[in-house]
Amino acid sequence: MKLTLHIWRQRSPTAKGQMVRYDVPDVSPDMSFLEMLDVVNEGLILKGEEPIAFEHDCREGICGSCGFMINGVAHGPSRGTAVCQLHMRQYKDGDVLFVEPFRARAFPLLKDLAVDRRALDRIITAGGYISVRTGSAPEGNVIPVPKEKAELAMDAAACIGCGACVAACPNASAALFTGAKITHLGLLPQGQAERDQRAKKMVAQANVEVFGNCTNIGECEAVCPKEIKIEVIARMNRDYLKAAWKNRESYRDDDPVELALSRGKP
């Protein structure tokens, strides 16, 4: 089939970008979307042009590296998949596709479709951990975990940190991502000790990164490749408000060294 692509091209973070049109003559329906881009890139290289930069790694929806917008939808039209799992059979001859990078102030553009999503890593660094003695693995059933909670925690832990939720959100909020991380640890017994601090620190970090605020509209859960629900955002709000209520110190009782470490940007 024949496709017309309009792809955002931008040489560097500071260069001016624009949409560039590419006519792709013979796209096989068996290709994945990224393979189709590989073919386009081969053609560009043969012509001596700069190939289109996009991130990818596993190409099976588990690493969270890939991600861009296709016709205004993060990861493209199929639900519950990352763009690397999208197949060209979704499209028909003559389709026109607009391919754009994820847009957010917290995701500075690097090149073409590749953006810097380390802001999400810094949110995890701020509180997405538990403090335990590591070493040899403990006996599995020492700490009982109800099955339902274990499953809900796993659902939230399925988040691959791709940033599609931020990209889809009209407010560029990272609430679904942050909520998923808070939910994943907060549901398990091992996550209780740091639960209050976790909510405070991760929300604070998301604010420092200048992600927007959640308006509960749900564009994020529609594009999430792991189909994480906005229930995790409610859980984040709950944990945060509870932590605010329980706080007995001044507004901040955190170790400044730790804060400085988790602070990625001035």
Partner: protein, 228 residues
Amino acid sequence: MSSLAVGSPYDRAFRFYESTVFKKAVMAVTGLILFAFVIGHLIGNLQVYEGPEKMDAYGRFLRIEPVLLWAVRLVLLGAVLLHILMTVQLALLKKKARPIGYVKKDNSHSSYASRTMYWSGPIIAVFIIYHILHLTLGVAQPDGFEEGHPYANLVRGFQNPAVSSFYILAMILLCLHLYHGVFSMFQSLGANHPIYTPLLRKFAAGIAIAIAIGYISIPVSVLAGWLH
């Protein structure tokens, strides 16, 4: 004390009242207060169907205890102002958080009501000001306002089709605003449940429509000549 400069972004982010989650909680609580008012105000004003005596007596009843009346008014005013202040702050953040927009963006997964909160809200705010000038203070009443006669003022006001149209438009927007708002306030305060939240959404739709129909019935009845 920390080595971080007081007033740095990090320092600020750690104050609860500076956080996005806290601001949304404030919107939720103030929204709840205003939602309660909208219901109470409707129940009171439906007495218009019981005739002028009942309605005017209700107006006098509200004014029996001026201290109480003003206390309620101040709470409502505070709720409106905080609700607007949070909106403005969060809208500014929204602009900051995505300085470069998309060439093409599909927002079809969210409800129309949720995406138009930034429109329905301000229009309702303008309506509230007009409504107070019109039926509480009487200064926006073109042909004569009689202090203490809410029934007569209301009927005379709504006989003007332009006045009634604006009122009806504002109530339709209020319906949309409440449809998203009633669900959203629970979410912002941390309540979401796989069984109860879908029910809440249905309740929100039902109550929003009921409120809109209740209010809109009044100018429609006046225009139709049923109330005179």
